[in-house]
Symmetry: C2
Subunit: 152 residues, 2 copies
DNA sequence: ATTTCATTTTCAATATATAGTATTTTATAA
DNA sequence: TTATAAAATACTATATATTGAAAATGAAAT
C-alpha cells in the first residue's frame, strides 16, 4: 500500500488482528522505504441494499437521504452534526444486520423515529409527523403535550 | 471475516489485488461454511484532518459539514443527491492527497466553488456569496448577469 | 505519584495469501 | 446496440501474513 508519509508503494504487514465480531481486520504496516508505520482496515463490501418506497418504487439505499430527513427535523435544534451522524450510522447498521436485500422506507422511518425520540422531542415530533408514523392522532397529541406544544 | 450471507466467521481469501495507486486492496473471499463468496476492501486509516476556520479555531474535518453547505446552496435546484455526494467525495480526495494535516475552511470553500461552478450556476452563486470568495463585487455582479439575475 | 485501561510493539513457528496470466461476466457509457 | 470498463473466475508456485503471549508505552483517573 502507498505509504501516507512518503508515498512509497511497498510495505510489509507487521501485525494483523481481526475484531471479534468478524467485521473488521486491522493491519499495522511499515513502509519499506521510510520505515514509518501506518494502519489499514479491511471491511466487507456492503451488498447493494434496495429501498422500497411507499409507492412501490425501488431505489438504491443512500444514507445521505436519511441524513437529509433528520437534518430537516433538527433544524434550529441544539443537535450537533456528530449526533446526527451517529443516528444515521446506527440506522444503517440496524438495517444491514438483518441481512435482507430490501428495506421499506417505512422501516427506515421507524428506526429514525425511535432514535430521535431519545434524543430530542421536537425533532422527533417533526420527523414523525412528516413520516406519518403515528398510530393515531391521540398519540400525536400526547407527544405534543409532553413537550409543551411549542416550537414544533 | 463474518460471512454476509450465513454469518459464519471463517473464510479464505481466494483472490487479492492491489489497485495501481496503492490506495486499496480488494480481496475476494469464500465462506468456509456456505461457500458463498464476498468481497472486502482494505484501505489506509485516514490521518485525522484538522480544519482551520476563519477565526483561527480548529475542528476535526467532517465531510458532512461540507455536504450541508452544498445542500443549502442546491436547495430547489435540479441537482441529485448523487451529484452532491460526488462533489463532497472529490473535495475530500483533493484535500487529502495534499498530505497535509490541516486545511483552512477557505481552501475547502474554494474547492467546492470550483466544482459547483461547473455544475450549476445558481448553486454556485449562492455558495460563493455565502463564502465571500469573490475577489470583488464586480465579479459577483458579472456572474449574476450571466445567469439572468434570477432565482439566486 | 501510582493505578488502570487502551494501544502499540516484539518474537517466532506455521498456515495462508499473493501475483502472473487468461477467460468470462456484468455494468456503464457512448 | 455496441463499445469499454470493471469485476469475477481459475490455477499454481512461492513469498508473506497470522497468531498467541508478553512487555512497553502513553493517557487519564485517583
Amino acid at each position: 500500500m502507498k505509504c501516507p508519509y512518503c508515498g512509497y508503494l511497498k510495505d510489509k504487514v507487521i501485525d494483523s488482528r481481526e475484531r471479534d465480531d468478524g467485521l473488521l481486520i486491522r493491519r499495522r504496516r511499515a513502509c519499506l522505504k521510510c520505515r514509518k508505520r501506518f494502519t489499514t482496515y479491511e471491511e466487507i463490501d456492503l451488498k447493494p441494499l434496495v429501498v422500497v418506497k411507499k409507492d412501490g418504487r425501488r431505489e438504491k439505499f443512500n444514507r445521505d437521504k436519511i441524513r437529509i430527513g433528520i437534518q430537516k427535523a433538527c433544524e434550529k435544534r441544539p443537535i450537533s452534526i456528530d449526533k446526527i451522524d451517529k443516528i444515521v450510522e446506527e440506522v444503517e447498521k440496524d438495517i444491514r444486520q438483518r441481512y435482507e436485500d430490501e428495506v421499506t422506507s417505512k422501516e427506515i422511518g421507524q428506526l429514525v423515529i425511535k432514535k430521535l425520540k431519545k434524543l430530542d422531542k421536537v425533532a422527533y415530533i417533526r420527523f414523525a409527523s412528516v413520516y406519518q408514523e403515528f398510530d393515531n392522532i391521540n398519540q400525536f397529541l400526547k407527544e405534543i403535550e409532553k413537550i409543551g406544544g411549542k416550537n414544533v
